[in-house]
């Protein structure tokens, strides 16, 4: 049997997904033995031009991490889709939009203004902004065009498999690579490397009735490692997040941040999470409820930390007219 042909590409993300592959440690040698890495800009050779010249469906699988932020991300998504038999949305950003997706809370103009003008360390008296096209000898320079919104991978191309996580747990990545090599992938559209129940179901902390009078900040105390975070007033995304990560955060005494996304039957992770978090508020008095709710300082960033582009209302409803 010939080697499996693989590609990995990073779009709008942090690069952590690429690096997480190295967490395989020695097993990376087995990957190299069974697979030919034709395109992986982070670690090996292989140019976009080579990729363009391969016949369609030449690659057995492409692992695509990062969200779609600009025209280059979109081009690479379409190109890898065309050249691959299997396209995997790798990690939270490709899966649901991820952390870069929180940019959808602001308009493009607001983002550019903060980055190129308002940050205290920026000196930009001419108020220069990057332009798509710039002429200088010996020719024109082109930058990708920013999209108005960050998108998840499947809003641009058809995705065969989703491997959630920020980054995906290394054992789940290993299982995915084995499945690719052995042609044993589940049917298209499946979320692989994760189960379909909420993380709470696997969590080993003691769980009693949840009634809280105040939300607490992790900076202000050390949570009891044996007791459910929510009972201690710490917002935990476990109730609306699928398990499969092995509860890495909980074991480090940190609440779940929701990177695995919601189970299959949840359409909107943030709304579901909001529902469960609001339910544990122990008050019937509208004024007191208001005061407790005020302690949730950033509901959108907390409940949709990894999934805003996939939400029913993806923010930026107040984008300025252009």
């Amino acid at each position: 049997m010939g080697k499996v042909k693989l590609a990995m590409h990073a779009a709008a993300g942090c690069g952590g997904c690429d690096v997480s592959v190295l967490d395989l440690h020695e097993r990376i040698l087995e990957v190299a033995g069974a697979a030919e890495l034709l395109f992986w800009p982070m670690f090996c050779d292989g140019s976009v031009k080579d990729l363009e010249e391969y016949p369609d469906r030449h690659l057995d699988a492409s692992l695509f991490n990062g969200a779609i932020r600009n025209s280059e991300d979109e081009h690479m998504a379409r190109l890898l889709r065309q050249k691959s038999r299997v396209l995997v949305a790798f990690g939270s950003c490709a899966h649901l939009g991820g952390i870069p997706g929180l940019a959808n809370l602001n308009s493009l103009e607001e983002l550019l203004r903060v980055v190129y003008q308002d940050t205290p360390s920026t000196v930009n008296p001419k108020k220069s902004r990057p332009t798509e096209l710039y002429w200088m000898p010996p020719g024109e320079l082109r930058l990708p065009r920013m999209h108005g919104q960050v998108l998840a991978l499947d809003e641009v191309v058809r995705v065969d498999q989703y491997l959630p996580g920020c980054p995906p747990a290394v054992e789940q990545l290993w299982a995915l690579l084995r499945a690719i090599v052995q042609s044993e992938l589940p049917p298209p559209g499946a979320v692989v490397g994760a189960s379909n129940i909420a993380l709470c179901d696997e969590c080993e902390r003691s769980k009693g009735e949840k009634r809280i009078k105040a939300f607490r900040d992790l900076a202000s105390f050390v949570p009891d490692p044996e007791v459910c975070f929510l009972e201690q007033g710490v917002i935990c995304c476990g109730p609306a997040t699928r398990s499969g990560c092995g509860g890495r955060c909980g074991k480090a005494n940190m609440p779940c941040r929701g990177c695995y996304g919601p189970p299959d039957d949840v359409e909107d992770q943030g709304a579901k999470l909001l529902s469960s978090i609001a339910s544990v508020i122990d008050s019937d008095d509208p004024a007191e409820i208001g005061r407790i709710v005020e302690q949730v300082r950033d509901p959108a960033g907390t409940f949709y930390r990894y999934s805003l582009p996939s939400a029913f209302l993806s923010g930026a409803c107040r984008e300025e007219a252009s």
Binding site: N104, L274, S275, A278, S279, V293, P299, S314, G315
Partner: protein, 141 residues
């Protein structure tokens, strides 16, 4: 053409749906902009329903249930109140006017109150204008 708000009403079976019925049987005229859906209790109303309604073309959402202390299931309406309070904060962050979502208490004997609530909300949303989230219009091209 003038704007006619489309409002989704989610009404609890025991109080508000009966209240709306009473408004009808008392032949009370009020704004025809609300489409009513009956649920057993406002405690059943998930924030997902509200967001999905807004995404699907509703300009506003009304959740109506029993007065505090009179819930058929004891605390469902309190739960709904907590959720709506937090939901409004989220909506503000998402750039949606929180006034598009309202929670009200209407008992089975308050047909007049029902008509007043629907009229008020309809006028409020008429002033806010149609709800058109840009996330629905976004193109990738």
């Amino acid at each position: 053409m003038s704007f006619e708000p489309k409002i989704l009403g989610i009404l609890c079976n025991w109080c508000s749906y009966a209240g709306a019925d009473l408004a009808g049987t008392s032949r009370r005229a009020y704004a025809p902009n609300l489409r009513a859906v009956r649920v057993m209790c406002t405690g059943r109303v998930e924030p997902t329903f509200v967001l999905k309604a807004l995404r699907s073309g509703a300009d506003g959402v009304l959740i109506a249930g029993c007065h505090p202390g009179t819930c058929h299931y004891q605390s469902g309406n309190h739960k709904a109140l907590r959720r709506v309070t937090l939901l409004k904060k989220l909506l503000t962050q998402l750039g949606v006017e929180p006034d598009r979502v309202r929670i009200e208490w209407v008992s089975a004997s308050e047909g007049e109150q029902w008509a007043r609530v629907v009229n008020e909300l309809t006028e409020r949303i008429r002033k806010l204008g149609p709800f058109r989230p840009l996330s629905l219009l976004r193109g990738t091209g």
